[in-house]
Symmetry: C2
């Protein structure tokens, strides 16, 4: 067993990726993490594919400056639209959140009816549907539903109010009508809605992409003999492209623990890989 002390890089359009980092910390307790939140340009979900690719390459280039051994794209939109570009261009492994969650969904469904919810850009990319169908060993029907109001509802802290339930009921109606038994939460903000969604969808298995991505990250590093040993100095380093007003309070909710003040890196200093 080697003791690879290089950090793991994680980036997201903002703070949502901290819900993925939470699972990475749980599965990889000895590692150091460098997290970049592109808060000056958040959200990615309403931008074009071309722009999302540009932003993702800039975030990845920043992480590479920290000599990372693995890059986790902790953003569903960037995973959907920019993962192939990053994997082609970079010489470290790049892991997105879509494939791990898709495999879990394909393996977990009993009746073959899987729902996917996410931002408009993630759903429009059709990445989850393609990936779930490719991972399935028997016939799977994937029903996708964009839920653009969920991110602002989470950021507003309206996690289980009547209006939130009304909006969720509207979004979920076609999925319920389709008798899904598995639902992929295809956006890093959505795990905060998990208690409400569980109550509204009894018997449906909810797939949190962070959990399955963290397991894959663990496997990749183990296979490459690049895990840090128990004697390693673990830790988290936070960078953001903008000091946004709600960072600290929201970050704590997403990560499930207090967060150090992030260091700001100017968007003007982000350059293409």
């Amino acid at each position: 067993m080697t003791h690879d002390q290089r950090p793991i890089g994680v980036f997201d359009s903002g703070i949502g990726g901290l819900s993925v980092l939470k699972h990475l910390l749980h599965h990889l307790p000895h590692e150091r993490f460098v997290y970049l939140g592109d808060t000056a340009r958040v959200p990615y979900g309403n931008k074009s594919a071309e722009t999302i690719k540009l932003y993702a390459r800039q975030c990845a280039a920043f992480l590479q400056q920290h000599n990372v051994k693995l890059i986790v794209v902790a953003c569903n939109t960037a995973s959907a639209l920019a993962l192939d570009v990053l994997q082609r261009e970079l010489d470290v492994p790049v892991l997105g959140v879509i494939e791990p969650a898709s495999r879990a969904a394909a393996a977990g469904t009993a009746n073959g009816h899987v729902g996917v919810i996410g931002t408009r850009a993630t759903i429009a990319s059709n990445s989850y549907a393609r990936c779930i169908e490719a991972s399935a060993t028997s016939r799977v029907i994937v029903q996708s539903q964009p839920c653009p109001l969920f991110v602002p509802l989470v950021e507003e802290g309206w996690l289980d109010l009547p209006a939130t339930r009304l909006i969720a009921a509207e979004y979920l109606r076609p999925l319920i009508a389709n008798h899904i038994d598995t639902l992929v939460l295809g956006c890093t903000h959505y795990p905060l809605l998990m208690p409400m969604l569980e109550a509204m969808l009894p018997g449906v298995r909810l797939i949190d992409c962070g959990e399955w991505t963290a397991r894959d990250a663990c496997d990749i590093l183990a296979q490459r003999d690049e895990l840090a040993g128990p004697e390693a100095q673990s830790g988290m380093y936070f960078y953001v492209t903008d000091h946004t007003p709600l960072f600290t309070s929201l970050a704590q909710q997403f990560l499930g623990r207090p967060v150090n003040d992030p260091v700001r890196v100017s968007v003007d200093h982000l350059t293409d890989a």
Copy 2:
């Protein structure tokens, strides 16, 4: 009367500013307009003051390259946080949306109770409250309320659904309790919610910042003898920093008429004034 053929520049963080352009077109039918929507970095409302100032200066510098005779900051957040910087640095007049709407509110209230709704950044800046109080000739009490969910609701097209009413009722409750007789719609997206808000707030005068900003733009150009004459070639030129999927359909709603395909200008080509 001169016939100043230079165009009027208008910028916004995205498409919302088209609700201001709508009124500019009505009041200034002979003019040419250059509109820049910073759709690659929308929204501004959740960014820091420093970042909003940087973005606003870049947008204004782009408009100046088109030899504009007036710049209208058709974005409440940028008006609240960057207008003074632009007015200090630029040699053309720069008009924001906050002062015109504030004067209309101060002049229009009968009982001295004025409400203001807007994005979190606009409300946190306290610009409206300060400006309304400064414009008033008798005592005015301003009650401000951030409504972060209204922009995503408008962009989702949920202009008068039960969930939208429930959210609006939650936001408006403290304003109604305060017996406001005037409400400033301090965000360019909100005029699309006007029918619902009117129904929910009988007897309350709603102030659309676009309407009052357009009147001021007209006055400024007239005073400077810089209006275009009736023989001038009127027109609209749209630029965006990203080709976002919903531009055309949303733009038509905001402007109230069909919109030509916008020209994309890369954010990387926007430089500081």
